[in-house]
Symmetry: C2
DNA sequence: TATTAGCACTCTGTTTTATTGAGTGCTAAC
DNA sequence: GTTAGCACTCAATAAAACAGAGTGCTAATA
């Protein structure tokens, strides 16, 4: 017994149906599909086979069948067709993205909102990882006594800042001078190589302000590292609309898991190595998301991947639509970051 | 019939009891309090009076009584005692606040988390409004052709950035020069007065780069204005633990209201004029929060109020504890921003 | 041999009905 | 002014009855 064309067709019909209705689908519902022209009894036999093969599951004896994770996997790999965006959906996205966005933070936020508004699932967006960016400018700004703000700007226009200590006897002019020296020396250096280069190039030389410089570099490195997990989240409550989360406890634990961004951050980081990922139910390493599916995409400036974003929904998710939305968003986000960040 | 001492005592007992139990309190429960030494029948009479006076309500005949908003108001104004923080609670706060916090963003986030962890309600923290800050530094950093990043630093060490357009023919040196001129000219000027001063002082002079300068100032002003509403939120799901939100729909609408930060932002902005505010149920202008109470406090650097934060919970909230927590937090946050933003 | 009609059976979800128990208001006695 | 006593109310829970969707199996059919 193997998966012939008919079984495949029936399985697809069941999955499509279940994605729509969220309730177990019975043989009669499928037998009504004209393309098959089979009685419910025949469908029942086929369904029994599909169950044996592991593609369907029965919540209890006299309910219809529900697709298994294995079935969804097959579905996204071979059967599903992408659903092009409707005009309405494009409009929604545009509405979010066309506002004057002059700050990375708000681009991330709007992206998340657009995604969740269009898909009705939960959206997450990871801020850009700056490791692959190149340094454009370093500026030290004196604050009250003993403190200064160090600001780093990358080629792509991202800025980070941190408060650092400054030796009491240092004058403003000197901070200005150091800013210049550092900018010049590390101009166009990859952010994740600054630490290394400092170790190499400065080891021989003698700097009056050695320890201070080290603390500056340290602060910079910290900011560039695993970019402080402020993942943008939007539409977490969308999940409450779905019958999968009608149970209070399930809803509670989902929301709690998602609220403490860290799991999402890990997921997105993992996913940022591939242009797209689809993770279905069990395939998810986090126990918490065993009955969710997660679809992600990466965004980039030019050729450099910068970060990733994605949506979380029930395994019974409208994969075709979601994938199209992410493809669209990936393009428009990358474009936006490359060209338009200011109008 | 008026509120004599006995009625007051009984009312307080009822409120305290209800805050603990969340279920309507009956006459028998109160009659057991030793301090009164009254039978349940007497209590019943008093309760009937209190109901007539508008301090108690009955969900239905044959249930106990529930305090009205009016009762809570009286409670917080006159009867409630503050509950000092326990060692455990202080430890929780310290754990959040003592991490290396070198960025305002993360201070806000940690504050929100500490608040929600300690109170078990929902916490919100508004980022600093920079209007009353003074300018410390302006820096223009050239990016790809035609774009630059403008960075503003205030005395208190807050930085903001925005991408702006630059005339194609402008050279790096010129941007550097303009940075210096602007910094010098507006050094120590209140952020919310820069626009005004520009209008006044520059109207006479002729600058080669007039329109460009205007766009720089415009970008600055926008950043300083109603500080882009990225209110930090934490513990929204805490509410789901309370029987008040056992109903899915209530939970859903609360979470949705809170997710779109904007209402919270408005609340916090309004509240930022007073050191503390307590808003109970109906007193809240937002329909959405008619059965919540909101307690807020402001934080500051030196004498200047910078922003506010607070917690949202059911009207049946542990006011005494919450107020103590906010007082504590107000001090430690203000201190932190004034002195320690770097270790 | 593959398909189908028919039928008994299973199991959930909903509605209906009883039952319990906490709490009240009122009256009459203290 | 206080209290014991009692009838009454009402929500919440449990138990019972019922409806309906769906299945698996068997025997007939093409």
């Amino acid at each position: 017994m193997d998966l012939d064309a008919r079984k495949l067709g029936i399985l697809k019909a069941i999955i499509d149906e279940y994605i729509m209705s969220a309730s177990p689908v019975g043989s009669r519902a499928i037998s009504k599909h004209e393309e098959f022209n089979l009685s419910s009894a025949t469908i029942r036999n086929e369904m029994a086979d599909l169950e044996e093969l592991g593609y369907l599951e029965q919540p209890h004896t006299s309910a219809g069948r529900v697709p298994s994770d294995k079935a969804y996997r097959l579905y996204v790999d071979q059967m599903m067709q992408k659903a092009a965006l409707t005009d309405g959906e494009i409009k929604i996205i545009r509405a979010h993205m066309s506002a004057k966005l002059d700050e990375v933070e708000s681009v991330m936020k709007q992206t998340a909102q657009a995604l969740s508004a269009v898909t009705n699932y939960t959206a997450m967006v990871m801020p850009p990882m700056l490791a692959s960016n190149r340094l454009r400018h370093i500026q030290l700004v004196p604050l009250r006594e003993g403190r200064a703000l160090v600001i780093i700007v990358t080629t792509a226009g991202f800025a980070r800042d941190a408060v650092i200590r400054v030796p009491e006897d240092m004058r403003t002019g000197e901070l200005e001078r150091i800013s210049h020296v550092l900018t010049e020396r590390f101009y166009d250096c990859r952010m994740d190589q600054i630490g290394e280069r400092i170790a190499r190039e400065m080891s021989g030389e003698i700097f009056e302000r050695r320890s201070f410089l080290c603390s500056v570099i340290e602060a910079i490195e910290k900011k560039m590292g695993p970019d402080s997990p402020n993942v943008q989240l939007s539409g977490a409550t969308n999940m409450l609309h779905y019958p999968e989360y009608a149970d209070m406890n399930k809803a509670k634990s989902f929301l709690a898991a998602v609220e403490g961004r860290s799991m999402l951050y890990e997921m997105l980081k993992r996913a940022s190595k591939l242009e797209f990922t689809i993770t279905i139910g069990n395939e998810n390493p986090d126990e918490m998301f065993k009955d969710c599916s997660i679809v992600t995409a990466t965004y980039q400036i030019g050729e450099e991947p910068l970060g990733s974003f994605g949506i979380i929904g029930p395994t019974r998710m409208n994969y075709g639509k979601v994938i199209s939305v992410l493809e669209y968003m990936r393009r428009s986000l990358s474009e936006m970051l490359t060209n338009d960040l200011d109008e």
